[in-house]
Amino acid sequence: MTQKLFGSFSRKRTSFLFGLLVLAFWVACAFVGPFVVPQDPYADDLMNALAPPSAEHWFGTDQIGRDVFSRVIAGARPILSVAPAATFLAALCGTMLGLVTGYAGGWVDTVLSRLVEVILALPLIVVALLVLVALGPSSLNATLVIALVFTPIIARTVRSAVLAECKLDYVPAAQLRDETALHIMFVEILPNVLPPIVVEVTVRLGYAIFTVASLSFLGFGIQPPSPDWGLSIAENYGLIVGGYGWTVGFAALATASLVIGVNLVAEGLQDAAR
């Protein structure tokens, strides 16, 4: 599989590597950022509120005097905890659902596929908001909600791949050997549909990052005083008009760079998979 994934890798090597570098930077920030930042990202300094970027505060301070640079670096952790966790959970559930619907066919496929289509017909952010209003805003609930809305999307991709695989000889051969359905789905078919799953998961990760940022911006995702980027933008966007753009700009750039990095990696993997 690795050979198949990376066989045609050279064509988009540069952009893939750039994306990987950006992603690696933010992952490193998520792991060690809070320990290496120059100032406590949570500590307020009211007498130094809204200070512009300077040698002491590279990205300036926000409206209660917190160091924006430290918050941007530390802010990688919450978003890179929720988004990958939600994507992984969606991948797990979506893969199982896709395997079952694709392999079983018949009424199982009909019922589950219609259910998936119903969920897909609803706007993602509206579903997420409705569920979060009912459950209450928290990082855990945001993870579960994003996983819930991404599961059908991944399931549909997996189902298509499984349907194609089921037409190949090795599946009837396994059935003739009296292998169980579980064995055929998870041991025979799954390894052969992994490349599209990996690509789909990487693409979904980019969307998940955006969704987490959006939910936090709307007040339903990660909660204060987290340095999460979406939350920071929500807390400070009103200051842009007043000329305090640094309170928002760096968090917005961080979000954009992470999404671009993930998308470049996804694109590279997609090419390799082809």
């Binding site: 949570y42 509120a49 209660i64 005083p225 807390e235 200051l239």
Partner: protein, 527 residues
């Protein structure tokens, strides 16, 4: 001259009442009822004044309106018996005079003759009786009950003759005129035959009459040619509704509107520095209450509550959150701007060593965990983070739960409201000309807004005495005792009282506002 009037004049002569405080107190008992409105710098008549306002959240029903957008609309065509100006001096509006009896349990109001509603009906005592009975009636769902419950009951307002009404109160009340003034924003006078159709016709007695109202979009008003007072300067006013502050600021800077009803410092820092914008900044008793539940967990120990209050850097909060456009709070509703506030009560200041000592004495040297629940509104989330950080200094680990206002207030009933049920919460309280309302519901043992679950028979007794007190010196003595008791018990932390801020374009004159987000445009002009 009554003994009460003589006492206020003597206080002024003796130098114990400044001129400003004298005016406030003399106006309270009707001594200055002939006081004219402050002279406005008259501009050129005939302009169309365009205003950006917060969108009213629901139907415009004077009985139930409770938010900024709605109450800014009510006062465009509606008028009150008394006008409470930004200087807290009461001035005649639809009432020309008011006098109390000896113990202030009965107040008699004389009404203005020759006033007509916009539909042509004459205004008189029957309209006052009907309006006040509606406002006091629990069956009507009146928002004004938060002010009038325990003060005036249905049937307590009596018609004496066509232009005289008498209010027979549930208990003596020395500040009663504030309860029927523009301070009580629901109390615009409506016709006796009012059929609940205010949103359709805005039928009031004011200087403007409705031209058009489109829910969620805007409203326009034109000069009322039959107005009882001086004709309004603008020929027309136009209100555009917005849900957020930022588009309002952009509209003002782009000359699409001439004024914004209210701005908050958060997000308007640029506007406040703009030399081309006129800022109307008036002191208001608007504040935030940080309630601490007195009946459960570690917060039941008043030493813990005192310790939390001692952690806050109040001057820093004033500087950081309000750029100085606020005044220090001392953990009671007695704003320094109130005449009755006892200024000899020491201001609480940050004292971490004392806070740590109190935590030790209370057996919480290692701190504890708790949750602060509050609403997402203006600077409140920032204040929540500051409280969280401050508590962290003495080992209290505070988790934050920040909700939309609807979720936070819930049904506003105990057991069904995060506001009233939370261990620690932060709640917004609006401006009032006197502290009476804010002394009652949030603190009394049976108070409907007592989120701190504070129970003190001594406090209840002191507040009853304060509300009944007629003369200022008695009010001050009781205020001092209430302030001291609240500092000692600390059921609530009030870190600041902040100013009301309105912004207008550079060519706009004559805009008047109140601390309650009411905007009055009859003297507005564009130069």
């Amino acid at each position: 001259m009554t003994p009460l009037e003589r006492q206020i004049i003597d206080e002024h002569r003796a130098g114990r009442l400044s001129r400003r405080m004298f005016l406030r107190h003399a106006s309270r008992i009707g001594l200055l009822a002939a006081l004219p409105a402050p002279a406005a710098a008259l501009g050129r008549p005939g302009a169309t004044v365009r205003v950006a306002s917060q969108v009213p959240s629901g139907a415009l029903e004077p009985l139930t309106v409770s938010e900024i957008g709605g109450l800014a609309m009510l006062c465009q065509t509606g008028e009150f018996l008394i006008f409470d100006g930004s200087d807290l001096v009461l001035r005649p509006s639809l009432a020309t005079g008011w006098t109390p009896d000896a113990d202030c349990s009965t107040w008699t109001f004389t009404l203005r003759p020759g006033v007509k509603f916009h539909d042509g009906q004459a205004f008189g005592a029957a309209d006052v009786v009907a309006t006040m009975d509606r406002l006091c009636d629990p069956r009507q769902g009146s928002n004004a009950l938060s002010v009038l419950r325990g003060v005036l009951s249905p049937g307590g307002t009596r018609r004496i003759d066509e232009l005289t009404v008498r209010f027979e109160l549930d208990a003596p009340n020395g500040n009663f005129p504030y309860y029927v003034s523009s301070d009580n924003y629901n109390a615009i006078m409506l016709p006796a035959n009012y059929a609940g159709d205010f949103e359709a016709n805005f039928n009031g007695t004011g200087p403007f009459r409705l031209e058009r109202y489109a829910a969620k979009q805007g409203a326009s008003f034109v000069r009322n040619p039959a107005y009882w007072g001086r004709a309004a300067l603008p020929a027309r006013t136009e209100f555009t509704f917005f849900t957020d502050q930022q588009p309002q600021i952009l509209a003002l800077e782009d000359d699409q509107v001439d004024a914004i009803v209210q701005i908050s410092v958060q997000g308007a820092q640029g506007l406040l520095r703009d030399p081309d914008v006129r800022i109307i900044d008036i002191p208001a008793s608007t504040h935030r209450q940080i309630h601490l539940r007195c009946d459960q967990g570690p917060l039941a120990d008043r030493r813990v509550r005192q310790a939390i209050a001692l952690c806050l850097d109040r001057p820093g909060i004033l500087h950081g959150l309000f750029q100085g456009r606020a005044r220090l709070g001392n953990d009671s509703p007695f704003d320094p701007m109130f005449a009755s506030t006892d200024r000899s009560v020491p201001q609480r200041r940050k004292d971490l060593s004392r806070a740590m000592a109190l935590m030790n004495e209370a057996g919480h040297a290692d701190g504890f965990e708790t949750t602060l629940t509050t609403e997402r509104q203006q600077e409140i989330p920032d204040l929540a983070v500051l409280v969280q950080n401050a508590c962290g200094q003495i080992g209290i680990r505070v988790g934050l739960r920040i909700e939309d206002p609807g979720t936070y207030y819930g049904t506003a009933q105990f057991g069904r409201s995060d506001w009233l049920d939370s261990a620690i919460g932060i709640t917004d309280y609006g401006h009032r000309g006197v502290p009476n309302v804010n002394l009652a519901a949030p603190y009394l043992s049976n108070g409907a807004w007592n989120a701190a679950h504070f129970r003190s028979a001594e406090y209840d007794r002191l507040v009853a005495g304060y509300i009944a007190a007629t003369d200022l010196s008695a009010q001050r003595v009781l205020a001092g005792r209430i302030q001291t008791l609240l500092l000692d018990e600390t059921p609530v932390i009030i870190p600041y009282f902040y100013d009301y801020i309105c912004a207008t374009g550079p060519t706009v004159t004559g805009v008047a506002v109140s601390g309650l987000s009411q905007i009055f445009l009859q003297d507005a002009a564009l130069s």
